[in-house]
Symmetry: C3
Subunit: 338 residues, 3 copies
């Protein structure tokens, strides 16, 4: 695809080359995200960071990525405060807001809303999550993390073994990640979930048609062995009809030091899209693994900044110009990245 | 008036020369708003964008205008989160906040609040809307749009025919626009509204005293003909005592392609302050006109950025310096403005 | 202490030399806060301004201070919109958010939360208020103000007489200010409060052990005389179990022009942490003193910007580099500071 001026709405847009292009630019962004260098590549540009549904982490990550490229950020954080509550159509909102910025990140609770918005927008739009539907930058950062983690272990995405654990029915992140993995070869998926929360059959079917191996189980300990990566998910209360229904599943599958040691291979990478629910009745990924070198969850969010910088740089066509306006950093920075 | 360091509180402050001055500077801002050039005229300056009442569009438009001039923006979006709820007076708020910024835009639900705030402020204040009272930058962008639209049709404001449609009793925008038009000559106003929502008599009186012609009617189709501009308004539920009362009037006057073709002149410009209510029971300006070349509603909001840049540039006395620090844009921009 | 890369969590961290260091750098920041000069010392740096409890004044003051040093600001203003409500631990929040910024200011309703957050953060954290516990930048700006005000009267902190008035039991500001004053010598404290809202005995004890004199009274007029500084406080409803309980004390101690003239020395400086409650039933500091030259309350908030700039400059180690990238201001500024 041609990233220049493109909307980023769905992982389905990407060919394998596109994904690799994003990852290559993300690598180039490291010195800026690590505060070894600063760049003014987007000095004067404005990001419209339009969050019509709360998501502090994603919002700040996108805003930070744009600032790191030298640009300004204008934000909205609340659907209540917007004209949408006065009966404004997404078409109108898009026509208006796109006159205020050079690129827009939009998050909205309704599936399909960002795509509809993008059709009317006069500037490129990145989907920051449209309800239960898509969140492409999350899928990209997940896969980018897998690639980096495996590389340090001299493995690669093609041929890897990955376990996905938890609510695989509603989990937007595991759906999108699976979609991206269709572009790769010969992967073994172990899908661990309660029977009622299994990965949708159409996704399983597509994985199998692409030549991947899929194993499904509701026995977590049996499924954990023999994997390069274990990807855990949170029970998202907001995707269920009630807290009661969510409570049935919350805390069913938990990974902690003892279970990891008993079942996983010594090199198995632990991932989670975050936030993880650390309340006692959930605790899907125990804090006793916090110091484990294979716990990649905070490297994941750090990688999110790199991937989002890469998307901005590609869409606004400055990927090759970032270095031109670069300089060294004059303030205190410590080696904050692992 | 001397714009340097001035508060912009009301359209009543302006003489015709002042309005024309704003418009001339707004014209100069076009290359920056179109992202053909960037400027650092206000690099290091801080806008205090103080919204004690929600208005995403106005807030982002002002913030974007300030960013386009190179400045920083600090914001507040919620009266609940402010000291006002702890019993702080507007005097105190103004004294404190004005120590944080170089210029303040303030929106507040109470009529007169911004004027009171400005009296205590140590920096210039722009009224971003004080409840039902004033919203001067909206009136300026409306008139600026009329001027540009008519110019492209080789007409001008003096002598034009304009219809105003909808709730002319509560509509802040039509009141302020009428006030500004007192500075011009020989205009024909056709005021189309339900009898209960007629333009206040004192405004009608002032228009007539200034030599303008005023026709009033509740028959929309009869009133639409023979106009250079039709200015539609929304039924603003928040100005009525109940949703029920607002419902009586909602959707009474609608403009769509068929009605336009049947009644309007081929060159009639369609305007609306936005947001327009696109819900079925309102739909005061139909989406079937969205591609019509005379639909100026999105050019209006684009012009809002230009007019707000002009106000900042004049108040902070950099209108003549914008070009000095200008440079070309290095990132992808498409021709996004019509 | 070594400010470079340090967390600022509590006033207990400081030795007298540290406090004086902050004040010296704050003095150097004056030309920038007065908009006589701009600096790019922190160009490219990002502040994570994380407010999990509302505080417009403190939030904007920190944000403004960072902008004045040339940096970007990313913000959060609402606990409801954050991952914390999805069961995320402070540890996780800190690990994630600290990947997005170069320094974090955090405000949170729970005592001890910011300290816990800082332990997991990979970048320096400044406590912007952790519930009833600490708010060190407020204490620093209060003491900085006292120092400047007394200096103009050719007095100094050592040996001064200060009255503290109001709710001395819950008042975080008077506790922290007292703590800082332990570092100074031979001060006379007059603590004026209702019997039920007296200064905690442990603080009184520490003041006395440090060689200070402490007088306690519930008779305001008797206590006001013979002071260099009178520090008034607000009855903070949120610190009481009910509005009713707060109402018992609200408005018990009021300072106005008549009481000031009757009791205070002509040079007595009036301070208040703001916001002051100007509602009729509270009115702890009357508006009839607004023009009084010894009313220092707005100089206090102005000084807050200087002190916060100093903290950022010291923590990020640019205090000596601010001047290197400095230039004159090209836009309109008036002498807005007293």
């Amino acid at each position: 695809m041609d990233f220049r001026g493109a909307h980023i709405i769905s992982v389905n847009q990407f060919e394998r080359d596109d994904v690799e292009k994003v990852f290559a630019v993300a690598n180039d962004m490291e010195p800026y995200a690590r505060r070894e260098r600063i760049t003014k590549a987007l000095e004067g540009a404005i990001l419209g960071n339009m969050f019509f549904e709360p998501s502090t982490r994603t919002r700040v990550s996108f805003g930070c990525a744009f600032n790191l490229l030298g640009g300004h950020v204008r934000e909205t954080t609340d659907v209540e405060t917007s004209s949408i509550s006065k009966g404004e159509s997404l078409y109108d909102t898009a026509r208006v807001i796109s006159g205020y910025s050079d690129v827009i990140v939009m998050r909205h609770p309704q599936a399909g809303s960002v795509s509809e918005f993008a059709k009317a927008s006069r500037v490129p739009v990145i989907n920051g999550g449209d309800g239960p539907n898509e969140h492409p930058s999350q899928a990209l950062l997940d896969l980018y993390t897998i690639k980096k983690e495996l590389k340090s272990k001299k493995r690669e995405i093609d041929g890897m073994h990955i376990a996905m654990v938890g609510d695989l029915k509603h989990g937007r992140t595991v759906h999108s990640l699976s979609q991206l993995l269709l572009l790769y070869k010969n992967i073994q998926f172990t899908l661990i979930s309660p029977t009622e929360l299994k990965m949708p059959a159409d996704i399983v079917g597509k994985l199998q048609e692409s030549g991947h191996t899929v194993l499904e189980t509701d026995d977590m300990e049996a499924g954990l062995g023999d994997n390069d990566t274990v990807y855990l998910t949170r029970i998202q209360e907001e995707r269920f009809t009630s807290k009661l229904e969510a409570d049935i599943y919350r805390g069913q599958f938990r990974l902690n030091q003892a279970i990891y040691t008993r079942n996983c291979q010594p090199n198995t990478v632990i991932m989670h899209p975050l936030p993880r629910d650390s309340r006692e009745d959930a605790n899907e990924l125990d804090n006793d693994l916090n110091q484990h070198p294979n716990l990649a969850i905070f490297r994941q969010t750090d990688n999110g900044v790199l991937v989002r910088m890469a998307l901005f740089a590609l869409i606004l066509d400055v990927a090759d110009k970032v270095e031109d306006s670069a300089s060294t950093v004059g303030w205190y920075t410590e080696s904050r990245f692992e």
